[in-house]
């Protein structure tokens, strides 16, 4: 955060206008890009006059080159910032007052987070009334995450997203009110400074920086045998990107929005805490500008729409699937994943000590992986492993912690996984994924002979009731699974244990890090 404040206080360098349209870019546009602050000094000396900004398709791209700290904003329509600026700008402002404080009165000593926590306890009506009290409350009460919660509580997955969460709520719950008449941009407030609110907006509208995408040091293999995969990657627990093992997947040809919407007509898929129809989800994902967009992540897609299960097959490397001995009682094991650019998963370890593979059908994903013994910077797991604290959004992690990994000896494994490619995520590895464009993927978790003992150990842990995931029968899963494996593959567990003892007696192999090379990919850029 401190580093960020320094950036924002740095002098304005240059600004690039997109030549696309003949429209004049309005200097008073509420981008809240701090570099403009200096440019607008003259305007600030004039009597404060807050103007409404009409709705326009946003094409302007503000760019500041301050070494590697410059940020690009997404060039497509951005969410409303109402002119909020980061706290550092207060020192540059000729006006020393922060309307945040004057507008909160006695509440001003509460932090932004605490205030938003209080606002989260209010009903929509109360929030709407409170928004009219002062500029400060206007901004806090328009904080989109509040309205997202209200929509999801009131409407579940049955909402028709309408430009913003607040607008969606009002349109859905107060249909007699014409949200269209209100317009998108609302009031612009020039003297409101808050790091929390600004950061929230910035992360929602930030474009991934090229240097975050450059490093691609994963091993890539095409056409290797199963034995080679097991020997070189699965057994030593190393990640690998596999090419060419989705050839023949019907999904690669058939799966696009239209096909999926048609085939899954009426079916609801898991999206965060709710279930949504595909057309509603796409309507939302097309418009959303959020730090953490809702992500469609459904563990029962094969059961809900069986034909989808026919459009792909498990790559040959992952066919040993020991949890299948549990039949219908097996934990969740396969998911369809659909999400817009910017959606993804922050750092986590996959459940139940399983390994995973993730196949991209359309789109592309940026992966960052750390081995089990290396906790990623900025991530704080609880001592028992049940919880992890990490930065609110993936962008925030990149902004604040990615740079640190460049100087670490134990660099992360990184890659961009494109359509037609499959990444193998070894058991216990930390990983984080961000979609660089709208992406559709399938992922499965599995247990093979290589990680069976680890999984059994994991399921046996005393706090299995909190740690085991994807099943309702957490406490008994270990016994059930062990029994079922013994029944179908008698002696397997004992044999694996013997082999493990033998291996432990052998010399220690060279460290994984000795084999990781850091290659710079060619200039790979995205434009949105």
């Amino acid at each position: 955060m401190l580093r960020f404040r320094t950036l924002l206080a740095s002098p304005y360098r240059k600004r690039k206008k997109q030549p696309k349209t003949g429209r004049k870019t309005r200097a008073t546009r509420s981008d809240a890009v701090p570099r403009k602050q200096c440019h607008r000094t003259d305007e600030l000396r004039q009597p404060h006059q807050l103007e409404t900004v009409e709705q326009e398709e946003e094409e302007e791209e503000a760019e500041a080159e301050d070494g590697e700290l410059g940020f690009h904003l997404k060039s497509s329509a951005r969410s409303n910032a109402h002119g909020v600026q980061p706290l550092g700008n207060l020192f540059l402002s000729p006006n020393a007052t922060n309307s945040r404080n004057t507008g909160l009165g006695a509440l001003q000593n509460l932090t932004d987070e605490l205030l938003l926590e209080i606002l989260g306890l209010l009903s929509a009506t109360q929030l709407g009334i409170l928004a009219t009290v002062s500029k400060s409350f206007y901004i806090f009460c328009n904080h989109e995450p509040l309205w997202r919660n209200l929509v999801l509580e009131a409407l579940g997955g049955d909402f028709s997203f309408n430009r913003s969460w607040k607008s969606t709520y009002v349109a859905g719950c107060h249909p007699s009110f014409d949200v269209g008449s209100v317009g998108d941009l609302g009031l612009e407030i020039r003297d409101f400074y808050s790091d929390y609110v600004f950061q929230s907006w910035l992360c929602a509208n930030l474009e991934m920086k090229p240097e975050w995408l450059e490093r691609d040091n994963i091993v890539r293999k095409r056409g290797i045998s199963v034995e080679e995969f097991v020997r070189s990657f699965e057994e030593p627990n190393k990640p690998v990107l596999l090419e060419g093992c989705m050839d023949g997947w019907l999904a690669l040809e058939k799966w696009n929005r239209d096909y999926l919407v048609k085939t899954c007509s009426g079916v609801r898929f898991s999206v965060g805490p709710v279930e949504m129809r595909l057309e509603d989800y796409f309507c939302y994902s097309d418009q959303t500008r959020e730090e953490r967009p809702l992500y469609l992540f459904d563990p029962k897609f094969g059961e809900k729409v069986p034909v989808l299960g026919l459009d792909y097959e498990v790559p040959v490397y992952f066919r040993e699937d020991l949890f299948s001995v549990l039949g219908n009682e097996r934990p969740d094991y396969r998911w369809i994943i659909i999400g817009p650019s910017g959606s993804g998963s922050s750092f986590h370890i996959d459940p139940n000590s399983t390994s995973a593979w993730n196949a991209v059908i359309t789109g592309s994903k940026k992966w960052v992986l750390f081995p089990p013994d290396v906790v990623p910077p900025g991530v704080h797991p609880s001592p028992d492993g049940a919880e992890v604290a990490c930065p609110v959004s993936i962008n925030e992690w990149f902004m604040n912690f990615y740079g640190a990994t460049k100087s670490w000896k134990k660099k992360p494994v990184e890659c961009i996984c494109k359509a037609g490619e499959v990444i193998f995520v070894p058991s216990g590895w930390w990983h984080m994924v961000i979609n660089l464009e709208e992406s559709i993927a399938i992922t499965q978790n599995y247990v093979s002979s290589r990680n069976l003992l680890n999984v059994l150990d994991f399921l046996k842990k005393p706090n299995a009731s909190t740690l085991v995931s994807g099943t309702r029968d957490r406490v008994n899963l270990h016994d059930k699974f062990k029994k079922a494996v013994e029944a179908k593959f008698p002696g397997k567990i004992d044999q694996l244990m013997l082999e493990a003892e033998d291996k432990a007696a052998l010399q220690k192999k060279p460290s994984f890090w000795d084999s990781v090379t850091d290659s710079k990919a060619g200039a790979f850029t995205f434009s949105f």
Binding site: A106, S200, G385
Partner: protein
């Protein structure tokens, strides 16, 4: 830095229940053990009082330097203090430079009350209601203290109390309650009202 605490082993992170929390000064996450479990394991009587076995005491120091003692079992309601106790850092007075003595005394009282065994839920609720039946500015100080010391029940109680101050009030009443001067111009006021007209109907 804004942080989120999430279940570690879940690919599908539930958004609506996650909230951003600031890191407290003592950053360590520990398993949330329900207080009743701890009480049960240490209590020696079931009467409405603190356990009578030898009590370990923690000393807290307010911003003005005043010291307050709190029994360890009561202190465990504060995650911050619990972490310090687990790390053996609680044997000397713990300075709390951003909590005034007047507030700290009440926070200790709250923790003591909530550590008592045998109190029925109804009377505890009534006690809590009385606890926050104080001046607004005092409640805000409680919020800041509960946040710093990570006392979830106190934080919930006090935040709800402020939310209750807002509920059902008109804008003018809210301004008065929190001593706010609205700085909208007439045009702005009209626009803001128009945007939120649905809430007034």
């Amino acid at each position: 830095m804004r942080y989120l605490a999430l279940p570690l082993l879940s690919q599908n992170l539930t958004e609506s229940t996650a909230r951003a929390q600031t890191l407290s000064l003592y950053l360590q996450l520990s398993l949330q053990v329900s207080l009743s479990q701890r009480n049960e394991s240490t209590m020696s009587s079931s009467s409405s009082s603190l356990p009578s076995c030898p009590k370990k005491v923690v000393t807290l120091k307010s911003s003005e330097g005043e010291t307050f003692e709190i029994e360890e079992i009561a202190a465990l309601q504060s995650k911050t203090l619990e972490n310090m106790i687990d790390e053996n850092c609680a044997d000397t007075p713990i300075p709390l430079p951003n909590i005034k003595g007047k507030i700290l005394a009440k926070v200790v009282e709250y923790c003591n009350k909530h550590a008592e065994v045998g109190v029925d839920a109804e009377s505890l609720r009534a006690w809590d209601a009385e606890f926050v039946n104080v001046e607004n500015t005092t409640v805000f100080d409680y919020i800041l203290a509960a946040n710093f010391l990570e006392i979830p029940t106190l934080l919930d109680l006090t935040c709800q109390s402020v939310a209750d101050m807002i509920k059902g009030k008109t804008p003018a009443e809210i301004e008065k309650t929190f001593n706010i001067k609205s700085a909208f111009t007439p045009e702005e006021e009209e626009q803001v009202r128009r945007e939120n007209q649905w809430a007034f109907e």
